[in-house]
């Protein structure tokens, strides 16, 4: 270990904390200034509103509301001729509890039961204080907005049963964090500018040396992260997005900080290592086609002797098209819609070359998914999906082929 590092610890500590504080103050100031130049109305929804844009919350209803969603599907997959056969999966049963404590104080929580009671998690439990429409203070267990899906992951909103690979393999959706910060929206004609900025405890050391055998951000989640930070230095998350009522919305998000537990009993026992995740996302309507996409890129500091084996850089991307082919009364359901959907995706868990052979490091997946979704009402979807993956191992040997069908339902209640 570098002795320099040792001496600097407290400095870095103080530095990162003051950075966060300065950023927050900066944002507040920016806001107050901006609120002077932008008009403020609260009529248009952006992805920032996703957590409140759920059917169980209706304005004018009593101050507390209960809702949720349910999601299940069947699977039939085969990888190079090896199939586990047909099986059914009760993916999620999530309960929301919402309360309008005051016209400007809101409470929201989400309790998730995954695969029955196999995994129970408190995904959200937060308070929102509206200081003014352009400036809200949020604290609690929150979903950091990274990319398109993490803060907007309710299954009934999506046309496909599986979440995009970039949103699970690169961005560790669903990532819940305990933290606090600010968010708000500013309006100018038909354009909306939204921002979010939070400090959170952050992912932990198992980003590497985990049971995936590769750099995998989702393995850095740890139930203990709701109790205390593993290294006493919080991570930072921010998203800005620009929305236009007619065209759509695009966002740029960041999440990162030091992930390893570098200090034990007050001694610095490891070098500090950080990770950075940047995502660009968009959603738009061109004529009747709905387009959604995301590009996510990670840079992870890996100890020198583990470089190569564990990727220092990763990326993932997807692009999805949905086209409503039928919009009318079907089997007595007024306003039902049938969508045809296509998604193309690719992720690379390890960007780099093998020094020994100068060849590209594999660890890549390319996939395509086709689907038909029937929405008898906007909050319910019945869908049939087909997926095909080409999975390249580390050495880039001829890929494994995975293909299969899924049929499922998801609905808000």
């Amino acid at each position: 270990m570098d002795t320099n590092d040792f001496n600097n610890t407290n400095g870095v500590f103080a530095h990162s904390f003051s950075f966060v504080i300065r950023t927050i103050f900066g944002l507040v100031l920016l806001n107050l200034l901006a609120s002077k130049c932008f008009s403020q109305t609260d009529s248009t929804k952006t992805s920032q509103d996703a957590i409140y844009n759920r059917p169980f919350i209706t304005i004018g209803k009593s101050s507390t509301a209960v809702g949720g969603y349910l999601e299940g599907n069947t699977n039939y997959f085969s990888e190079d001729g090896v199939s586990e056969g047909f099986s059914m999966e009760m993916r999620r049963f999530n309960i929301f509890l919402y309360s309008n404590i005051h016209s400007r104080i809101k409470f929201l929580s989400e309790l998730e039961f995954e695969h029955g009671t196999e995994e129970i998690a408190l995904e959200t439990a937060l308070l929102d204080f509206e200081l003014n429409p352009a400036l809200n203070f949020r604290a609690g267990i929150l979903l950091p907005p990274i990319g398109l899906v993490n803060a907007n992951h309710d299954s009934p909103k999506w046309e496909f049963i599986e979440r995009p690979l970039s949103s699970t393999g690169i961005i560790p959706t669903t990532l819940s964090e305990v933290g606090f910060g600010l968010h708000g929206k500013l309006y100018q004609d038909k354009t909306i500018f939204a921002y979010d900025a939070y400090i959170v405890n952050g992912l932990q050391g198992n980003v590497i040396l985990n049971d995936e055998g590769k750099t995998y951000l989702a393995s850095g989640k740890n139930p203990e992260m709701f109790g205390e930070d593993n290294n006493g230095t919080p991570m930072f998350n921010a998203k800005i997005s620009l929305a236009n009522k007619k065209i759509g919305e695009m966002g740029l998000s960041y999440y990162g900080g030091i992930y390893n537990s570098f200090n034990l009993e007050g001694n610095i026992v490891e070098e500090k290592r950080s990770l950075h995740l940047i995502a660009f996302d968009l959603s738009a309507h061109i004529k009747k086609i709905k387009i959604q996409g995301e590009y996510a890129h990670t840079a992870v500091q890996v100890p020198n002797d583990l470089k190569g084996l564990y990727g220092s850089e990763q990326y993932g991307a997807f692009l999805e098209f949905s086209y409503p082919v039928l919009k009318r009364k079907i089997m007595g359901f007024e306003n039902s819609v049938i969508n045809t959907n296509l998604r193309a995706e690719r992720i690379d868990y390890n960007v780099g070359i093998m020094q020994q052979t100068n060849a590209n490091i594999g660890d890549e997946v390319s996939a395509i998914a086709l689907g038909i979704g029937f929405r008898p009402s906007a909050s319910t979807i019945i869908r049939l999906n087909y997926r095909y993956h080409l999975i390249y191992n580390f050495l880039g040997n001829p890929p494994a082929h995975l293909g299969g069908f899924q049929f499922g339902v998801a609905s808000y209640f």
Partner: protein
């Protein structure tokens, strides 16, 4: 337009559903894959095989005992698809001659280098003043057949004094087996030593030893047979990881050994191709088959599919002096540093599929083509090398076509 699109997607999905076989990837042809069990295993044996298969692919995390110093996180990481590996996963071993005796430097972390460490630990480096060599991961299929060849066959094939004067004097590696070794009835012993047959220097007597060493030396996983973590000797204290030992249950070790025993022999392709058949004759005429022995027979085995079977590995499982070009001063057991075990040539035609689309040959993977590999054949193999160089280009190609059919 709308309707057309809808109907198209619907048709695609519905035909998909009804012709699932087309849209669900099928098994590769048996002659294109290594990862299959021996024919004729019972259901109980197939269960053990499947459990072993999963163990072989299992990735170890820090919490599960990986390291503290290690080379890879799973068997499959180095032996992708059960085939030969890529130089990215080469293992480095070191040691040194002291007064003519080989010292594997146990007290300095030898013989195997673990160049990676879990966080909070220091990875190993090669001590100064030692000899070292790199070893390419080997194909692990058909090993049960090789294991079941009686010691008497190896002794009969060996000719350490070159009694027949052909310049080839294969010898066996006599070794002191580990304490947990259980001899079989057909094992032959000499002054308490046994014959090694696995590894590039034939330094493991059986698959139990080889698999135990792989978990321990390659992944840093302790088992009932090896209870102490590998650790960095330059850091004081017996600094193992914080996971209780053994880090795997005995069943995991024995299932993995069973899996190694019961993977089928690599399949052949294009056997009736006239070039392949001509190439086989050239292979024999050039003297290759003196070491790369085409046919061996197993003795008695409690596994029916391995019991008294004749098979074609193209090895004699013996050590041969390969000359100075392949001698980097590193060795194991009673082998000399210029001596290497004849590698089986079965599976030769499928190796690109596990080596990352390229071919890497010889013990360290230095050769990229058959011609290069043969050009390094010195010592006992120089006659065969000279004979190969004298072949016409078309005969060389036929010989290569034969190797690719293996």
């Amino acid at each position: 337009m709308k309707c057309a699109l809808f109907i198209l997607v619907l048709i695609a999905l519905i035909t998909g559903l009804f012709s699932c076989r087309k849209m669900l990837p099928q098994l590769p042809e048996p002659e294109e894959t290594l990862a299959e069990p021996l024919e004729g295993l019972t259901q109980e044996q197939l269960l053990l095989f499947s459990l072993g298969d999963a163990n072989f692919a299992h990735v170890f995390s820090k919490e599960q005992g990986l390291g503290p110093i290690f080379v890879q996180t799973s068997c499959e990481g180095c032996h992708a698809g059960d085939g030969k590996g890529n130089p990215f996963n080469n293992i480095t071993r070191f040691g040194k001659y002291e007064n003519g005796n080989w010292n594997p430097l146990y007290n300095q972390g030898g013989p195997q280098l673990q160049q990676r460490a879990i966080t909070g630990y220091l990875a190993e480096t090669i001590p100064s003043g030692v000899s070292s060599d790199e070893l390419l991961p080997m194909n692990v299929t058909g090993l049960g057949l090789l294991e079941a060849v009686p010691d008497s066959t190896l002794l009969a094939l060996s000719d350490s004094a070159d009694g027949n004067g052909d310049g080839i004097s294969g010898k066996v590696n006599w070794l002191s087996p580990p304490s947990y070794f259980i001899p079989k009835s057909d094992h032959i012993t000499l002054n308490g030593k046994y014959i090694g047959r696995f590894g590039r220097k034939a330094s493991s007597v059986d698959l139990v030893q080889r698999v135990t060493d792989a978990f321990h030396g390659d992944i840093g996983i302790t088992s009932d047979h090896e209870m102490t973590d590998p650790f960095n000797y330059t850091v004081s204290g017996l600094n193992g990881d914080n996971v209780a030992d053994p880090e795997i249950p005995f069943s995991m070790l024995s299932q993995t050994v069973f899996y190694m025993r019961t993977l089928k022999a690599p399949p052949r392709r294009n056997i009736i191709d006239p070039d392949v058949q001509a190439g086989e004759n050239i292979f024999i005429q050039t003297g290759c088959a003196k070491c790369h022995v085409p046919t061996l027979t197993t003795g008695n085995s409690e596994i029916e599919s391995l019991d008294n079977k004749t098979f074609h590995p193209y090895t004699d499982l013996l050590l041969h002096d390969m000359g100075a070009g392949l001698d980097k001063g590193y060795t194991e057991g009673s082998a000399r540093s210029s001596e290497w075990r004849t590698p089986p040539l079965w599976g030769f035609g499928l190796q690109e599929d596990s080596q990352g689309g390229m071919v890497f040959l010889l013990h360290d993977g230095r050769a990229k083509t058959v011609e290069q590999a043969i050009s390094y054949h010195g010592g006992e193999a120089s006659t065969a090398n000279t004979a190969f160089q004298a072949l016409s280009e078309s005969d060389k190609q036929k010989l290569i076509a034969f190797l690719k059919s293996l």
